[in-house]
């Protein structure tokens, strides 16, 4: 059985202008968890975009008179070891998180899918070689890859994105390949090949649309993973540098030291990370249920 966008196809018949609205409404009705996830994701994106308007303070402004202040009316989520407003830093930190999350997920899933589809479509030697290359990258410990990228290129947002994306590619490739393999065996692809169509045409017309579902699912799954990985890298000191506001950075150093005496420094950024990752996964999971319950994203 081919990958069939089961639930979405049922509402696809509605007129084009109302179609999206209907899809959304239908999704919300059938997958309330997913809808909640999507709402949180949307909120996150809005916060990131509107950080300048929303943040109560300059995220870099220190205030030595208000160091480690507990949550109050002046500082809703308290201040950190430099008297910087935790809420402002979380709000600006969502920019880093969303930037890293979306870039990594998009790059990782796209490149991986292209490679996976090519590997499946061409088969034979190409497949074998691409598979070995992927094996090599897969078996290479993730932390070493990240470390290598960061050590060679230095820290900074762009390099962190690279460090997270590189290990994602082979993982996405594997998933895309197995979905593409299933399609490749379909009679109509065989027919197209027999009819002498160009590879490019077959891939674009027949294979790509059919791996769109797994692609979307990968994209949402990787969004959460990328945010978590960025936090872990920052926690290990391999991510973005101070004083840039970033969630993983906020959990590092002073937050651990003051875990008991000033817990708000660790709790709120931690919650921000968990909530964002949670929401992305919730949404992604439901999307998968809707689009393709058989898909094996990891």
């Amino acid at each position: 059985m081919a990958v069939r966008p089961a639930d979405v196809s049922e509402v696809a018949a509605v007129g084009p202008e109302r179609r999206w609205l209907a899809v959304v409404r239908d999704f919300a009705r059938r997958r309330p968890l997913g809808a909640v996830g999507a709402a949180i994701v949307l909120l996150n994106v809005l916060v990131a975009v509107g950080a300048d308007l929303l943040a109560p303070y300059d995220p870099l402004a220190t205030d030595y008179a208000a160091m480690l202040a507990r949550p109050s009316m002046a500082h809703w989520l308290g201040t950190d070891a430099f008297g910087r407003d935790v809420l402002a830093r979380i709000i600006y930190g969502s920019r880093t998180a969303m930037l890293v999350g979306f870039s990594c997920a998009f790059l990782g899933a796209t490149i991986g899918t292209v490679i996976g589809v090519a590997s499946a479509y061409f088969g034979g030697k190409v497949d074998l070689i691409l598979q070995r290359v992927m094996d090599i990258f897969l078996s290479f410990p993730l932390i070493i890859l990240a470390l290598a990228v960061v050590s060679i290129l230095g820290t900074g947002v762009a390099n962190v994105i690279m460090a997270i994306t590189v290990p994602m590619i082979p993982r996405a490739g594997l998933v895309a390949r197995s979905s593409a393999l299933a399609i490749r065996e379909m009679p109509y692809v065989d027919a197209a090949r027999a009819a002498g169509y160009r590879h490019r045409r077959i891939i674009l017309r027949h294979m790509l649309p059919n791996v769109m579902a797994p692609y979307l699912i990968l994209l949402t799954a990787y969004l959460g993973q990328a945010i978590l990985l960025e936090a872990s890298l920052s926690f290990l000191g391999l991510g973005v540098s101070e004083p840039t506001p970033a969630w993983g950075l906020m959990l590092r150093g002073a937050a651990v030291q003051f875990a008991e005496t000033a817990p708000w420094m660790a709790i709120f950024p931690g919650l921000a990370i968990s909530l964002a990752v949670f929401a992305f996964n919730l949404f992604g999971d439901s999307l998968r249920d809707s689009l393709d319950p058989r898909l094996r994203t990891q």
Binding site: L68, S151, P243, Q257, F258, E260
Partner: protein, 531 residues
């Protein structure tokens, strides 16, 4: 609430400091369990640079001289294997008398031959053997052993700090016969004269020593043995002390960690604190524009409110004292009234920052001028100090980005090749001694670790003069002059805050005194455990 807690802690600290040493009598027995936040690369302290080698292994050895284990300044030199010493009138010959009847752990007697072989290995290593500390002993012409219990050091010129150098905690006395056979034997084996015998080393996990029953200092050591546990994560270290699975960690904890231990353990914990002879310096690359301009460098130091920084940072990081080129409280430290005259140490920060802005304007630096501060990727205290610096510079209209570089690449890729504009540098010594502390600030042609990359003949000359000055007053004056040129007039380098060492430990641990260095006082012969 918070203030009350702080008062309580301060009270506890002062209370604890007093009775720790005196009164009750040492008691024999028990195993000291301590945490080491690093682990030994090799077992040979002559070639290593880390306390990870000293903390677990020093109890197996003795040095020629050492600092008094009860001296908080870590500067009073007493005998260890040497019983007494005399210095010739010209200050160029040091004659040391060794103790008799000192035995290595294999039962053989320790004599001047062993001392000479050990020091020769450090000062005159044979071809192919690297000795990192050779540079510290360029003054030594020869080491002689005229009879089995006498060692003589002949110097090329008198050096005020030489006695201190013989008390270096790195210069363990090894056995001559073994060195003659294999210069590298000590990298993987232990054979000393010290108070504890080697039992086992489990890589990455722990190190065990037991009491040397034939130790030359009768009645010592008090402990039956010790167990050093290697633990890199500081949260895990705190948990170990707090869960009372370990009694002490000899390097130091942060203020927050101290507070949480005091809060959790109350009377069961004793806190010792001391200025720490380590600090983060800021190297300013003279080869990069506009940092070749002394006005710009002076502006960088004038921007820093060190007094406020001290008050704020000492709550969250292991830095505290504001000082000049010598740690506060030590013989050659800068008196506060003189310190306040140096650029960046003025009491009036408004005036200081106005002057900084004026200098920048004069040097043609536009408002919002941007540069990169490269920082070493070690969280405590590089990270808070970095954030503080950047914030201070922001207040005179400079827009500074931070780039954190992994420690392994930091010296080789950033500092040594001069691949930076402004960057964190570090200095840390086993004893507070101008010769050791000021060496690096000489011109780049002399000092390999002059990362600001300048040539300043005046400084070189001052360095040499103070090193040979045998009269302390004369030396003090020269050091002040050196300091003024280095930190104020030329602002070649910036001094941030002195580190502050905090050791909260189990109240059962007695007979151990904090010093300004985590390299000193680790023989553990005087340490004992209360009931």
């Amino acid at each position: 609430m918070c203030a009350l807690k702080l008062v309580l802690i301060v009270a506890l600290v002062t209370l604890a400091a007093a009775p720790a040493a005196a009164q009750d009598r040492p008691r024999h027995g028990g195993e000291l369990v301590f945490v080491v936040p690093s682990s030994p690369p090799s077992y040979d302290a002559h070639r290593e640079e880390t306390f990870g080698t000293i903390h677990p292994i020093a109890p197996h050895y003795n040095t020629l001289l050492r600092t008094d284990p009860g001296d908080r300044t870590g500067s009073r030199v007493v005998g260890d294997l040497a019983e007494s010493w005399s210095i010739s009138r010209d200050g160029r010959t040091y004659t040391l008398k060794l103790r008799r009847g000192v035995k290595f752990h294999d039962g053989s007697e320790m004599t001047s031959r062993d001392v000479k072989a050990s020091y020769d290995k450090i000062i005159f290593p044979p071809a192919g053997v690297a000795s990192n500390r050779k540079g510290e002993y360029v003054v030594v012409e020869a080491v002689q052993a005229p009879d089995p219990y006498t060692v003589v050091f002949r110097l090329k010129w008198p050096q005020a700090s030489f006695l201190n150098s013989l008390a270096s905690p790195w210069n363990w006395i090894y056995k001559a016969d073994i060195l003659a056979r294999d210069m590298r034997w000590y990298e993987t084996h232990v054979m000393g004269t010290g108070p504890f015998l080697f039992v086992e080393h489990v890589k990455g996990s722990h190190w065990v020593g037991k009491r040397n029953p034939n130790y030359w200092d009768r009645g010592k050591p008090y402990l039956d043995g010790y167990r050093a546990i290697f633990m890199t994560d500081s949260a895990a270290q705190v948990a170990a002390i707090r869960g009372e699975r370990a009694m002490i960690q000899f390097r130091g904890f942060s203020p927050a960690e101290r507070d949480s231990l005091v809060q959790a353990l109350g009377k069961r914990v004793t806190v010792q604190e001391s200025p720490w002879n380590c600090l983060i310096l800021v190297a300013i690359n003279h080869e990069k524009k506009p940092f070749d301009d002394r006005r710009v460098r002076r502006a960088l130091t004038l921007a820093l409110d060190r007094y406020q920084g001290s008050a704020a940072l000492s709550k969250i990081a292991i830095v505290k004292e504001v000082g000049g080129v010598q740690a506060p409280g030590t013989p050659f430290a800068t008196p506060p009234q003189e310190l306040e005259k140096l650029a960046g140490y003025w009491r009036d920060i408004g005036k200081s920052r106005a002057e900084a802005r004026r200098l920048l304007k004069e040097a043609g630096i536009p408002d919002g001028f941007s540069f990169t501060y490269k920082n070493r990727g070690i969280p405590m205290p590089y990270e808070p100090v970095g954030v503080w610096l950047i914030d201070q510079w922001r207040q005179i209209g400079l827009n500074v980005r931070q780039e954190v570089v992994e420690p392994a690449a930091y010296y080789g890729q950033v500092l040594r090749p001069g691949n930076f504009e402004v960057a964190a540098d570090f200095q840390c010594g086993y004893t507070v001694e101008p010769d050791l502390d000021l060496y690096k600030f000489q011109s780049k042609e002399i000092s390999h670790s002059n990362y600001s990359r300048y040539t300043d003949r005046v400084l070189d000359e001052l360095y040499e003069k103070q090193s040979r000055a045998t009269d302390p007053e004369e030396r003090r004056r020269l050091i002040r002059e050196f300091e003024r040129r280095l930190l104020d007039e030329e602002a070649h380098y910036l001094y941030t805050l002195q580190w502050h060492r905090i050791i909260p430990h189990s109240a059962r641990v007695r007979g151990w005194t904090i010093t300004p260095s985590h390299y000193l006082n680790q023989q553990l012969d005087t340490v004992w455990l209360a009931e």
